[in-house]
Amino acid sequence: MALNHHRSCYYRQDHHETVGENKEKRPKFFINDHADILIEILKRLDGRSLCIAASVCRLWCTIARSDSIWENLCFRHVSPPPSVRSVVLALGGYKGLYMGCVRPVRSRLGRARRASWARDEVQLSLSLFCVDYYERLGGSNSNGRLVGESSPSSLMFLCKPVNV
């Protein structure tokens, strides 16, 4: 936007014109009035941009936090297996799936990715997600760890920094 504005400064006449035009055609269209369009747009963003978008305004924040957008992010290039939604929602939701599993899996495999692996990536992410959920399940004291230890971390290997 800044660039456009800057450019338009050079052309004074155009500037006046555009300003005039804008005055004429003042947008009857304000994006925030059309949540469905907004959702369509935000659905196509990547994870990082989505998080940034969530800090724009309350509406955007609400939309960006809704799970359906993250669902789209997870299954962008893959047709989701049927009935996956109920499972994922039960295990913690798409945002958790994306942030916890899909994103690290995709970024780690970045260098070796192939398009045909997209489905397997998702399946692997789902499995890891499920394992993580299982680990977090309380249970009297049988978490498989000593009392006073840190939280379950079967996904810890995904969080560690990889040598670039």
Partner: protein, 594 residues
């Protein structure tokens, strides 16, 4: 009084108080002699050092200086943790006896290696022999970079016997040729240490009449470490326990100078050997929940267990393709970490999930808690969350051989499809004669559609102790190496616990015998023949399993080191060139009940 002297590069100037000025020329090294022309103390004690409180005989000066420098070099090149204990642990009785103190420190190093030549000193002139001077040197005639190369060096790997031989041949590269010989020979008055033998030794490393110099180099020490371990094992094999004892202590010292994986492996093996020698056998009947905890950490740190689970699950999933009721029998339930992923895959199966029944088998808990039930309860919760009909049964058994198929209430195959899963459990059965056969017949009675077996790819069940030891050394070295390269920050508790988990296995392989030795891993080829003899035929793990496994490995830091290989339908996970874990799947060769 004759003085021996040499130049000390970089160190402070030693000015000696001895009356050797007149003799210096006789040594034939007037250049060096000038260095010593300074203060001489008629009383035989060095003046300058006396001021500092050290009483050093001038005659000993060069010797002390040389030892100090050696110590400095050794401390500098050895790793930090390696030698600092010397300064605190070495008892120093007479603070003013500098020479003696340094000597005792050096003696503790057990054959201190002399540092490599400083080129400046190449032509310096030196004779050293000192009745207190104990040099234990070893010959080194090879330069080998591989830490794990086990080319035996005849005789040298044995513990060098301590010799307080005043004529001990300590060749140093600094030693000059015959020039000095005449000088020192001629004078024997106040000198307490001149030794004719010392002289005339050319400054070469390998010398037929002398033991050559040892270079300080942690790689060299690493190779020496391995050789000493092997020699110790050989001594144990030959029941030469005294020698083994001495070697084990030597290993401990050497291990201290290493870092990383090598050090840990050596420490564990040394401890296991010590246990074997002293017959302090580890209690295998430790709390099984403790073992579970250790295995959990191992699960998280490295991909081996995850690989095992994912590949076995894939085989089971494919076997369950169209079944409406499924039953999995897990020979080692532990924390049940394998099953969430399978349950999730079943839940997302096209056509809907089957009814899932799990039978978990585990060892008795020391505190009588029902660990199996707790795991079953967690799995039930998960099943409820993702919408699978779930049933769980736990069986406590000391050994798998105690099981009978009838106890498990197997339902007929038309009603329920059965899968049997064993991760690192079958090898333990080999400890008891007939154990494996009994279990196999029980499995056959269960009529499983598929039997998944995951085992370590190593041969720790040979009849000869030394062979087992060598194999184990190779295997666990690779394993520790991979842990090291796993990118986990060093002070991680996970890493330490994983290593402890492996360390206990090492202890069992090396120190235990008979029924106690349960870690009897065998390679895939042997398992194959066992299974085929028993009437099973292999089921090939498909490309799905391979893909999943490869992806899983790529996720791990250090993922470049891990490799998945396919071996006649079985999948093997290895670290670089060494396969470490093998997953295989089997079905009954006869299709009908039999």
């Amino acid at each position: 009084m004759k003085r021996d002297h040499r130049e000390i590069s970089g160190a402070t100037d030693y000015s000696s108080g001895s009356g050797s000025r007149a003799d210096s020329s006789s040594i034939g090294n007037s250049i060096k002699g000038k260095l010593w022309e300074e203060d001489r103390d008629a009383g035989g004690m060095d003046e300058l050092l006396a001021v500092l409180g050290y009483r050093v005989r001038s005659s000993d000066m060069a010797d002390v200086a040389q030892k100090l420098e050696m110590l400095e070099m050794v401390m500098g090149t050895a790793q930090e943790d390696g030698i600092s204990h010397l300064s605190s642990d070495t008892v120093h009785y007479n603070p003013s006896d500098l020479s003696g103190w340094v000597q005792s420190m050096l003696a503790e190093l057990n054959g201190p290696p002399t540092p490599n030549l400083d080129p400046v000193l190449a032509d310096s002139d030196f004779n050293s022999s000192n009745p207190q001077h104990r040099q234990r040197n070893q010959s080194r005639v090879f330069h080998d970079d591989s830490e794990y190369d086990l080319r035996a060096i005849p005789g040298v790997a044995a513990h060098p016997p301590p010799k307080s031989d005043p004529d001990s041949d300590s060749t140093r590269k600094r030693v000059k040729t015959s020039m000095s010989s005449s000088g020192s020979d001629g004078d024997g008055s106040g000198s307490s240490f001149s030794s004719p033998k010392e002289n005339g030794i050319p400054g070469t490393v390998t010398e037929s009449s002398t033991r050559p110099v040892v270079l300080v180099d942690s790689q060299e020490t690493g190779v020496r470490l391995v050789h000493t371990l092997m020699a110790c094992a050989e001594a144990v094999q030959q029941d030469n326990l005294k020698l083994a004892d001495a070697l084990v202590k030597h290993v401990g010292l050497l291990a201290a100078s290493q870092t990383g994986a090598m050090r840990k492996v050596a420490t564990y093996f040394a401890e296991a050997l010590a246990r074997r020698i002293y017959r302090i056998f580890p209690q295998d009947s430790l709390d099984p929940s403790y073992t579970d905890i250790l295995q959990m950490h191992f699960y998280e740190t490295c991909p081996y267990l995850k690989f095992a689970h994912f590949t076995a699950n894939q085989a089971i999933l494919e076997a369950f393709a169209t079944a409406s009721r499924v039953h999995v029998i897990d020979f080692g339930l532990k924390q049940g970490m394998q099953w969430p992923a399978l349950m999730q895959a079943l839940a997302l199966r096209p056509g809907g999930p089957p009814a899932f029944r799990l039978t978990g088998i585990g060892p008795p808990q020391l505190d009588n808690t029902d660990a199996l039930q707790q795991v079953g309860w967690k799995l039930a919760q998960l099943a409820d969350t993702i919408g699978i009909e779930f049933e769980f049964r736990g069986f406590v058994a000391n050994s798998l051989a105690d099981l009978e198929a009838e106890m498990l209430e197997i339902r007929p195959p038309e009603v329920e499809v059965v899968a049997v899963n064993s991760v690192f459990e079958l090898h333990r059965l080999l400890a008891r004669p007939g154990g494996f056969e009994k279990v196999i017949s029980s499995i056959k009675a269960m009529k499983p559609k598929i039997l998944t077996v995951v085992e370590q790819e190593a041969n720790h069940n040979g009849p000869v102790f030394l062979d087992r030891f060598t194999e184990a050394l190779h295997y666990y070295s690779s394993l520790f190496d991979s842990l090291e390269g796993s990118g986990v920050a060093p002070p991680s508790q996970d890493l330490a616990m994983s290593e402890l988990y492996l360390g206990r296995q090492i202890c069992n392989v090396v120190a235990c015998e008979g029924m106690d030795r349960v870690e009897r891993q065998e390679p895939l080829s042997q398992w194959r023949s066992r299974m085929e003899t028993a009437g099973f035929s292999a089921v090939h793990l498909g490309s799905n399993a391979y893909k999943q496994a490869s992806m899983l490995l790529a996720l791990f830091a250090g993922g470049d080191g891990y490799r998945v290989d396919e071996n006649n339908g079985c999948l093997m996970l290895g670290w670089h060139t060494r396969p470490l874990i093998a997953t295989s799947a089997w079905r009954l060769a006869t299709t009908e009940s039999g």
